[in-house]
């Protein structure tokens, strides 16, 4: 149990996908303009990441690995995630229209994002077991949501700041992201797996 807790904290904070591994920056800057949108996006990424990781784990361990087809890992995962997101969109649209209105637009964006595919690949490459994969996926998702929400709150505050003209918009956001990443680097070494 302690091992999983450590893994969760490590994947959410010390090895944060966005701020220490620099994955998923497109969403990180695109959807961090307001807090509500970033919360929705964070939840959507976490859930898609978890479900697709489990599916990818099953496919890798029961189909690709036994047949010796590890080369097909990348293309299979891409197909899996894209298909899954489509399916998820339909199901949510039908059964939870309120949730769809909140998430719907983000779901399609996630289908082709590198953060979502990074977790299954990490799991496959280090031959993680089912539970480990599951915890890693949830941890990475929560870490991504955390980074997104932090960034969105900062950028909302930023609107009241007197930013020099040449840095307005994306410029100051990049600087901010750099500082945020720097502070997350302070956690590195606290947990070693």
């Amino acid at each position: 149990m302690e091992e999983y807790l450590k893994l969760f904290v490590a994947s959410a904070i010390t090895n944060n996908m966005v701020l220490t591994q620099f994955l998923g920056l497109c969403i990180f800057f695109g959807v961090s303009k307001n807090l509500n949108a970033s919360i929705g996006m964070g939840m959507a990424v976490t859930s898609v990441m978890t479900i697709s990781t489990l599916l990818a784990w099953a496919v890798y361990n029961y189909v690709l690995h036994p047949l010796g087809l590890e080369v097909l890992m990348l293309i299979t995962f891409v197909v899996l995630i894209a298909g899954l997101v489509q399916l998820l969109e339909m199901v949510i649209k039908k059964h939870a229209p309120a949730l769809y209105n909140m998430w719907g637009i983000y779901l399609v964006l996630i289908a082709t994002n590198c953060v979502v595919i990074a977790v299954p690949i990490t799991n496959a490459e280090s031959h993680n077991g089912f539970m480990t994969s599951f915890v890693l996926a949830i941890g990475s998702g929560v870490g991504f949501a955390l980074a997104l929400i932090l960034m969105a709150s900062l950028r909302e505050k930023l609107q009241y700041a007197d930013v020099p003209k040449s840095l307005q918009g994306l410029g100051i956001s990049f600087i901010l992201a750099g500082m945020l990443a720097l502070s997350f680097f302070g956690f590195s070494g606290m947990i070693t797996l």
Binding site: V71, L72, V91
Partner: protein, 290 residues
């Protein structure tokens, strides 16, 4: 079994599996969409310009059908005809809309507006504007690099050889796309029935404006004093005409007579203001560009 065949089998079965799964769930999880939405969408012009305030024609169709508070006449490109049809389809009362046209508030052609430097960068007004506000000495005027022409979803704009865009009154739907892309905010929408217009956007003081461009509004307020109906106001050294008062009350346009730089002129469409005598040339040019 050899690897290529295995790859073929695995990928094919994966593709088929997902294909059938998606096709099946598309049927199973399909939602009844109000068919009226598609009918309304077919009526709309599909320029996807967003002038209605929604994300596109489909979004507007959905909103106007489902939400009783959304007015049927928000589609500016569609004008009255579309507003009427949409109102009929949705059972809402149609409010008449006044036809408008986009107009460039600048007459600073190559020979009239001075340049402070020669620009040879990207052919785009936004890019040029980043470089000290563009090559023209006047910091308010049209840059003439045609960002608006490229943005027009209805092909209603053509760049004239004089360096100002010409707007085709037949094609302009007053969607406001050009208004929003112009980095100088020199394009505005005005009622098609307007009588006069001020072809200048310069908020500089008279002497500065005149130095940069020979047809600038110098803010002398002579036109304002001529107008008996108080339709003209001076705001930031620039004459602003209230087209509504003009249209309703005025018949002889006294304001035109005294302007020292001829910045205020009769409202004409389809040509660059100040090049009226070259009218035929401008039209010929517009037609070859098509």
């Amino acid at each position: 079994m050899s690897t290529p065949i295995l790859i073929l089998i695995v990928l094919t079965s994966l593709g088929l599996l997902f294909g059938f799964l998606l096709a099946y769930s598309n049927k199973k999880f399909s939602i009844e969409v109000n068919p009226l939405i598609h009918i309304v969408e077919d009526v709309l012009p599909k320029g996807q310009c967003g002038a209605c305030g929604f994300a596109g024609c489909m979004a507007y169709a959905e909103a106007v059908v489902l939400n009783p508070d959304v007015a049927p006449n928000l589609c500016t490109p569609g004008k009255d005809a579309v507003a009427k049809l949409v109102a009929e389809l949705t059972g809402k009362a149609a409010a008449p809309m006044e036809p408008q046209i986009a107009q460039v508030q600048c007459a600073g052609t190559h020979d009239k507006a001075k340049k402070s430097y020669a620009y040879s960068g990207v052919e785009d007004c936004v890019a040029a504007n980043l470089l000290f506000g563009g090559p023209k000495s006047c910091k308010y005027g049209c840059l003439g690099l045609g960002t608006c022409v490229k943005s027009c979803p209805f092909d209603a704009m053509v760049m004239s050889p004089d360096g100002l865009p010409i707007i085709d009154p037949e094609k302009c739907t007053s969607c406001g796309k050009c208004v929003s892309v112009c980095p100088k905010q020199v394009i505005s929408l005005m009622p098609i029935g307007a009588r006069v217009r001020v072809n200048c956007n310069s908020k500089d003081k008279g002497a500065v404006a005149k130095k940069a461009c020979s047809v600038a509004c110098i803010g002398c307020s002579l036109c304002m004093r001529q107008c008996p109906y108080e339709a003209i106001q001076m705001v930031n050294n620039l004459a602003i005409v209230d087209a509504k008062i003009c249209e309703e009350k005025c018949s002889d346009a006294l304001c035109l007579s005294k302007c020292p730089t001829k910045a205020i002129r009769p409202f004409v469409t389809g040509i660059v203001p100040g090049t009226e005598n070259e009218e035929s040339m401008a039209i010929a040019c517009a037609s070859c560009a098509k």
